[in-house]
Point group: C2
Chain length 346, copies 2
């Protein structure tokens, strides 16, 4: 039996701490992270500093959600003995690296970054884009390289961030004339983003079309009942559309019995299968998935001191690693260095 | 006798570490700093991180000149027992504060900053301006507020940086709903910038029209001999122009006997006073000024370990202060806080 090809990889991933996570995050990344933590070294960054880049007017929200996202991680089965969970803004070496990296990327290059352009458009910033927001690709490059991550799970829309990171890495390695930082590769998700309950775009808390990971049984039931199916499928006997039918999209994502789902799709297309039946099946699957997550989340939420302690330990580990990387980069570039004897070694 | 009005002030000043300092720096700021260190609390920042914003391709130059500028400080009489001399890039709290501040200023505001606009023009950056360079007003705001400086000695062209800093301070204090950071005031120099030897613009090493603080007696003599006077003053008997005559500008700056200089100017204007006479007088003054500076500089340069030790001690003091400020800002904004018990106090 050959060794797992991921065994030597270091994965960096994480979330902006702007709100609790939802089923879309679970399908798109959290489930994969739970599997990854058994296969390689994994760091999960609670990206509160990045969340501030477009939430500067509400730092309390960003701070409060550090705990909420951590609870979501623990609830889905992220194990702090296997994955390092750490708080971005408590890692000064990442700020140090970011400040350094900003010198190795031009304003024009940041403005051309397709991900940043699209996100600026979505937020309606136009000329009022906060400088921190424009600069966040350099901060992401610092996050990735600070942990010397080799693999970064991303959606297709985030691929330009990986390219931006590797551009900075190559420029620094060229100036240092040494491979001080590794390039990273994208680990793209095999499945697309989960649509919202209304079928309009991706699931998003701000769009009100999401199911929170902490959703109660009643909330799950109500969400499935409200779910978009096929507006032309008025009577049970009518043929129905499966494409764009959110219930089937979710069944594809969460029902392990692919053959039965295929049979249900065929039946639905022919006519004679009511929305009630497929919704009942989906609800069963979601209750079975989210019930244990909700229960674990409640247990951890009842003891926030324990969660903060997990974050403190993870951040302490991350602090050592990122400081070490920062020191290596500074040394490789020949920056001024105060050592114990007061005599720089550079 | 009333107390010195500066006694409660904290002054932050410093220099980009891109090369040794020259007579223009002495006249424009170093001499004032030597006086200020007896009147208030003074921090001198060796701004290597800022120097990197437009020297990313040559970090070794920036690093090497940390020592050179420190030697210049000590040579002119900056006393490390009175002034704290510290190395910017070795103060991670300044990077942390900068990253935070970048969220409180827009890209458009940075691009409108007149000082930044002019410096981008001078450097011919156009669209290739490094992101770190565009962002450096936020880094300066971090420097100033990190030390809670109340007074910042600046030239007129730097006044927009003070305004930019205070804008960030006000925005943070408003969001924190508390006066966590003080606003600062500019301390503008009473004298203008010293022109170069050639009378073209200000003295600048890159223009080759400067006298280094480490200049030898021969270099000083040669510099004064090459100095621009009045191209119309061909014969000693001719009337000469004093305005724009670099020798008289320097005599105004460095000769303490104002009455004698006034008499020399009158004589020069009437005719009958040769350039040789005024140049000899200026050379005497400069040799008298720079001789002891050169001697002190040589003494310190012979013992770089001692200088690095001074920087290490100053940076250690600055590290404590700037970390404290950073922690106060984070706390006031309610950012996530890992304390010893692992339970955030926010």
């Amino acid at each position: 039996m050959s060794a797992d090809p991921l065994i030597h990889e270091t994965v960096l991933t994480g979330d902006r701490t702007t709100g609790p996570l939802h089923l879309g995050h679970y399908a798109g990344s959290l489930a994969a992270r739970v599997r990854l933590q058994d296969r390689c070294r994994q760091f999960l960054l609670l990206a509160d500093a990045q969340a501030l880049t477009d939430n500067a007017d509400d730092p309390a929200k960003v701070s409060r959600n550090v705990l909420e996202v951590a609870l979501d991680y623990l609830a889905v089965g992220i194990d702090p003995a296997k994955s390092v969970i750490c708080v971005q803004s408590c890692l000064p070496a990442l700020a140090d690296l970011t400040m350094l990296f900003l010198n190795f990327v031009t304003v024009a290059r940041l403005e051309r970054n397709p991900t940043v352009k699209e996100e600026i458009r979505l937020r309606g910033f136009e000329r009022d884009v906060p400088a921190g927001f424009l600069c966040y690709p350099a901060a992401q490059a610092a996050d990735i390289t600070g942990f010397k991550a080799s693999l970064v799970p991303v959606g297709d829309d985030q691929l330009p961030m990986i390219e931006q990171t590797n551009e900075i890495v190559r420029r620094i390695n060229r100036i240092a004339d040494a491979p001080v930082l590794p390039e990273c590769r994208a680990l793209t998700a095999p499945v697309g983003r989960l649509p919202g309950l209304d079928g309009k775009g991706k699931m998003s808390k701000s769009q009100g079309n999401a199911i929170a990971l902490s959703a109660t049984a009643d909330e799950i039931r109500a969400a499935v009942n409200a779910m978009f199916t096929d507006p032309g499928h008025l009577k049970v006997a009518d043929p129905g559309r499966v494409e764009g039918n959110v219930v089937f999209t979710y069944l594809d994502a969460f029902d392990p019995d692919k053959a039965e789902i295929q049979a249900l799709k065929d039946h639905y297309r022919r006519g004679g299968l009511g929305d009630r039946v497929i919704k009942a099946r989906l609800e069963d699957r979601l209750q079975a998935l989210l019930g244990p997550i909700r229960a674990r989340r409640s247990l951890f939420a009842a003891d926030p001191g324990q969660v903060h302690d997990i974050l403190r330990r993870g951040t302490a580990i991350a602090d050592v690693l990122t400081r070490q990387t920062c020191a290596e980069v500074r040394r490789a570039l020949g920056l001024y260095h105060l050592n114990g004897a007061g005599v720089p070694s550079v």
